[in-house]
């Protein structure tokens, strides 16, 4: 842990800015007037106008300590938390019946969640998202690395170890794909280590290979098709997002290679849980959780026979895919054997 208080007091601003460019953001956030960067912050502030400081409710004493706190927060943001395992300890279903299960999931594992609409699949994803500790309606408990999660950790880890992807998500920023990836990488401070460019490039290429139709780094993220958006979100989750656990709520069929996408997340050593009605995704997972009446009714390991069935199902899927492609291209479907 760096003592930013001392660092800020000892260095001229120019040196501080060279090491921590994010300091510039801090000055912008406070709307500070231009400071003499040859001096330390405290000395430079002596030259700042009193009225101006008063106007913005600031004192000279506060600003260096606020900057120290800011740098502590910003540098902490870059360190994601590695997760070696996720454990789901059963609670109860809608009728109060005990689930009696304990499921241990390790990085690189894909688990699908199946069950009728309204059966409680999203509730299970919700329990994982908030790292439930027996205090949600299902009374389930979620352990990280085999241990209970303290209240403080639940808040501090919020949004940091669990990423979510769903059908309803869109890009809303007015940025190109390249700008968008750079901004995300910067927020994770991966840029500091200097390999951001390579990471962004890998991420972009991967998103393009997942997408049915290609796009350029200059495309606006808001102009991407549904499939391209999903592909970019998945590649970004795999390469740039710090979250160790990825929750997916049904991703659509069109324009993105779903199976390859899920495999990519698993290769990135993520723990992937995917709620789905799609037989290929359900069987493509290592295990599947069956939900009935709000509770986990079974956990099934995908058997060798099921994997063999999956190969057959993929052929059918491929046939449907080619049929769709032919129809879209204005062709006719006279002989299925040629597709």
């Amino acid at each position: 842990m760096i003592d930013f208080g001392n660092l800020i007091a000892a260095q001229p601003l120019s040196a501080l800015l060279a090491d921590y460019p994010v300091v510039r953001d801090f000055f912008l956030n406070l709307n500070l007037p231009p400071l003499n960067e040859a001096k330390s912050l405290a000395d430079a502030l002596l030259e700042a106008d009193d009225d101006w400081l008063l106007e913005f409710g600031l004192t000279r004493e506060e600003i260096p300590s606020q900057l120290a706190a800011f740098l502590t927060t910003m540098t902490a943001a870059e360190s994601g938390r590695a997760v070696t395992s996720l454990t789901i300890i059963g609670g109860r279903d809608k009728s109060g019946g005990a689930e009696n299960i304990e499921l241990h999931i390790e990085p690189g594992t894909v688990v699908s969640i199946v069950g009728p609409t309204g059966s409680g699949k999203s509730r299970l994803l919700g329990d994982i998202e908030c790292l439930a500790q027996g205090d949600t309606p299902t009374a389930r408990r979620i352990l990280i690395d085999g241990a209970e999660v303290t209240e403080d950790d639940r808040f501090n880890l919020e949004g940091k170890i669990v990423a979510q992807l769903s059908q309803n998500m869109n890009f809303v920023m007015d940025l190109t794909v390249a700008e968008f990836l750079e901004m995300h990488a910067r927020s994770r401070a991966v840029g500091v280590s200097g390999d951001a460019d390579a990471l962004i490039k890998t991420c972009f290429e991967c998103a393009n290979s997942l997408a049915g139709e290609k796009f350029t780094p200059e495309t606006k993220v808001t102009q991407l098709s549904g499939g391209q958006s999903r592909a970019l979100m998945i590649a970004d989750c795999a390469y740039i997002s710090q979250s160790a656990i990825v929750l997916i709520d049904e991703i659509e069929n069109a324009g993105v290679d779903r199976r390859e996408a899920i495999a990519l997340l698993a290769q990135s050593e993520k723990i992937v849980l995917i709620s789905t009605h799609d037989p290929l995704l359900a069987l493509g997972a290592d295990k599947r959780i069956v939900i009935k009446n709000g509770g986990i009714s079974a956990i099934i390991d995908t058997s060798a026979e099921e994997k063999a069935s999956l190969v057959e199902l993929e052929k059918i899927d491929r046939l449907l895919y080619n049929t769709r492609k032919t129809l879209r291209a204005g062709g006719q479907i006279n002989d299925l054997g040629t597709l």
Binding site: D25, F26, L28, N29, G57, A69, F70, T72, T73, M74, A77, G126, E129, C130, D135, T136, E151, R154, F155, E158, G159, A163, Q164, L165, S166, N168, M169, N170, F171, V172, M173, F180, M183, H184, S187, R188, S229, M233, D236, C237, I240, S241, Q242, S243
Partner: protein
């Protein structure tokens, strides 16, 4: 009685977050809604069976209006056996914040409002204990992460929570924080976390005409470039 202050830009989802929070808390909630000219939220609170008082600042500075009336809200809450009193302020400019030292403060921001918004909102976010991000379910994970980072830039010590105002996902975590709020019986001698603006000029008292001749009292002139 516990008390929290909730502030945020218009249409960021404050009322929805409070309604979902109320469902999660299962206590007697009372709301004092501070707004400027109109408020449409009374019906939503009534429908949820939540007692509500509406304060419209009208021609007065909304921030000053809040400070002048918030104590009355505490008395109202105590008289009515409220367990958790929530003030909801929509009618604030970005210059101000209704947050009070020692009172759990929440700022609600909308993930759709743009990634730099948290850095523009000012004291209402900067001095909040908890920043609730709404509408995160419809933006990408990456944008949520960048948005949270932007919040951290403006307020490094805040707890950032994502709450879905429609389904209530995340409201449960917010309710846990609210239950930690301090018990109060009065706000007298408490302090605001940030000053309200000075305002005692002709326009404060109803002047609408433009021109040097009508400008009296405390005011400031911009220095335009030539």
């Amino acid at each position: 009685m516990k008390m929290i202050t909730v502030a945020g830009p218009p249409s960021s989802g404050k009322t929805s977050v409070i309604l979902r929070l109320a469902e999660s808390l299962k206590l007697n909630i009372g709301v004092v809604k501070f707004d400027c000219l109109t408020s449409f939220d009374k019906a939503r609170y009534k429908a949820a069976g939540i007692p509500v008082q509406i304060g419209l600042s009208g021609k007065f500075c909304p921030d000053h209006f809040f400070v002048n009336n918030v104590e009355g809200g505490v008395s109202w809450g105590l008289r009515n056996g409220i367990d958790v009193l929530i003030t909801e302020s929509a009618g604030l400019c970005n210059r101000c914040s209704p947050h009070i030292t020692g009172i759990t403060s929440v700022c609600v921001v909308d993930a759709l409002s743009g990634v730099h918004t948290p850095r523009k909102i000012g004291p209402m976010l900067k001095f909040a204990d908890i920043v609730v991000v709404t509408k995160g379910d419809i933006v990408s994970q990456a944008e949520r992460e960048v948005f949270a980072w932007s919040v951290k830039q403006a307020n490094g010590s805040a707890q950032v929570l994502s709450v879905n105002g429609i389904t209530g996902q995340g409201a449960f975590m917010l309710s846990k924080k609210v239950l930690e709020a301090r018990e109060i019986t009065s706000l007298t001698d408490s302090r605001l976390r940030f000053t309200t603006p000075a305002a005692a000029c002709a326009y404060c008292t109803g002047e609408t005409r433009i021109g040097e001749n009508y400008q009296m009292g405390m005011m400031r002139k911009m220095e335009y470039e030539i």
